[in-house]
């Protein structure tokens, strides 16, 4: 195969890969009352319709709040756990790390069903506690993994030096360890935020009629209709993700954040 032909093939394949994401933007600016291609004119009417859609806006607020709650909870749980796994020397360390990251290996459709069956018996379906717990199921493995990696790349000598100079363990943690793993903590925040904000399948099982998340509301909307309102909502979601990634990149650099 000639060089030109190979480059043309790669170009077409990249177009295939990126088309559905790119297409959302022009469609969200359509002036038509239903999905039609090409749009007969351009307007911001679907963004206005999105802002005025009470169901979707309530779901968007829920998702943002949920992402913040899940991030806080995941940090509180994962920082001590990551410290113990990265610094501790006890039997079963590897097994515990495997257990904490195992949910990532299983299909979300199965995890969601398992939570539905258990939560239904305790009245946790459609509650904030239920949703936070469900999102922690997928957020914790990411948080633990990123933080253990961040701690593993630290020069351990600095902590020993502080301790040998008389700093109590809590001070060593606060003044040395925490400051050094700050990039890792920031990366964890961003990743957990995105994972929670995007999580759809598990949420589908644990949301209730009064409490739903943005991706679930969008999923239900697409089930019934495909007008450009979804494109506007999708554009908002993509821009939210982009904003988180850019903030992370500006703050600490993307490569450093993911431990590369």
């Amino acid at each position: 195969m000639g060089r030109v032909a190979f480059h043309a093939l790669v170009g077409v394949l990249f177009l295939f890969l990126l088309a559905p994401v790119i297409l959302v933007f022009p469609l969200s600016l359509s002036a038509d009352s239903s999905m039609a291609w090409p749009p007969s004119g351009w307007s911001l009417r679907w963004y206005a319709a999105l802002v005025q859609h009470p169901g979707l806006m309530a779901a968007l607020r829920n998702s943002v709040l949920l992402a913040l709650l899940v991030t806080a909870a995941a940090l509180l749980l994962a920082i001590p756990a990551a410290l113990a796994i990265a610094r501790g020397r006890f039997p079963g360390r590897e097994a515990l790390f495997a257990l904490l990251t195992a949910p990532l290996l299983l299909p979300t459709i199965v995890l969601g069903l398992a939570l539905l069956i258990l939560f239904a018996g305790y009245g946790l379906i459609g509650t904030w506690i239920g949703l936070v717990l469900a999102h922690l199921l997928v957020a914790m493995p990411y948080a633990t993994r990123v933080l253990v990696t961040a701690l593993g790349t630290l020069p351990a000598g600095l902590e020993d030096a502080a301790a040998s100079l008389g700093a109590p363990p809590a001070t060593v943690f606060r003044r040395v360890t925490l400051r050094l793993i700050l990039p890792g903590v920031a990366a964890t925040c961003a990743i957990v935020c995105l994972v929670s904000f995007d999580e759809t399948v598990i949420s589908l099982f644990v949301v209730g009629p009064r409490l739903t998340t943005f991706p679930v509301a969008l999923f239900r909307y697409v089930q019934s209709r495909t007008d450009p309102l979804v494109a506007a909502a999708a554009a908002v979601m993509i821009l939210f993700t982009l904003a988180v990634v850019i903030v992370l990149d500006r703050l600490i650099g993307l490569k450093r954040a993911v431990g590369g």
């Binding site: 904490l100 299909p107 939570l115 589908l204 495909t226 999708a234």
Partner: protein
């Protein structure tokens, strides 16, 4: 001391992971009673019904076949991109990597909607075909075609990243040596490039297959209820029919498919190494 720090995280893990999963497996050994109730005694009734009903076997077969087609398509589409990115200069490489990873950050609902816009009856592609004079182009959504096309695209980033991770052994010097000894480009690819990239191919295929078998959003939206697969059936049984024992048993079957795929991957990797 170290164990004390682990208690909260492990407690949450037991509460939302281990306990629900064991409970799920146990539920497949109960009977569903009419009206959504669940029997109190252990029984093999659910498994017996499931394994003797041809519908569930066809569901399993359909899921596996569709997922294999998607895996193969993702490999065919991902391989040239991975090869191109691997050979690009460092500056281009970073940019191309971002282009490969970016779709991963976009929700599956959004990307599936993108495919509805492209393939739907009033979408871009059918409009284009009509414009070219094809009065009644074939339907591309609410059937297997749409699901396969969309899932191939959605799983491509995983395939590309796995391939790139396994491309470490690829060395341009070997290719140059082969061509300088007179091998045609296709021979170089078949005898040098392809064998060296088998580890990446195996990893990418495992990931794509496993994700395809368990994917729910895309088959649900693009299949429109006309493409019965294991994952969509689990959801329907759990949410619509309220038959939790059957949903639980189907989940165990999905996990078994995962196990078979992992075992096969292990065997093939060892044989190759």
């Amino acid at each position: 001391m170290a164990l004390l720090l682990l208690i909260p995280a492990v407690a949450v893990n037991l509460l939302v992971f281990l306990w629900p999963m064991l409970n799920l497996a146990a539920l497949s050994f109960r009977d569903a009673l009419p009206g959504g109730g669940i029997g109190q005694v252990l029984s093999l009734g659910t498994w017996k019904d499931l394994l003797t009903d041809g519908y569930y076997w066809s569901l399993l077969l359909n899921s596996v076949v569709v997922s294999l087609i998607i895996t193969f398509a993702a490999l065919l589409c991902g391989y040239p991109i991975a090869l191109f990115v691997h050979r690009a200069s460092p500056r281009w490489r970073n940019l191309l990597m971002v282009a490969c990873i970016a779709p991963l950050l976009v929700s599956a609902v959004v990307r599936t909607y993108g495919w509805l816009v492209l393939l739907g009856d009033r979408g871009l592609l059918p409009s284009l075909l009509r414009g070219l004079g094809w009065a009644r182009p074939p339907r591309l959504v609410f059937n297997e075609v749409g699901v396969v096309v969309a899932l191939t695209e959605i799983l491509m980033p995983y395939m590309i990243l796995s391939l790139l991770a396994g491309f470490g052994r690829l060395n341009p010097v070997l290719e140059e040596a082969a061509s300088s000894l007179g091998a045609r480009p296709f021979t170089v690819f078949r005898r040098i490039v392809l064998p060296l990239t088998v580890p990446g191919i195996l990893l990418g295929c495992l990931l794509a297959f496993v994700l395809a078998v368990s994917s729910f959003i895309t088959p649900s939206l693009l299949g429109g209820g006309r493409v019965p697969l294991l994952a969509t059936e689990i959801y329907d049984q759990a949410i619509v029919s309220l038959n939790w024992p059957v949903a639980a048993a189907l989940s165990v079957i999905v996990l078994a498919v995962f196990g078979v795929a992992l075992t096969l991957y292990g065997r093939l990797s060892r044989a190759e190494a």
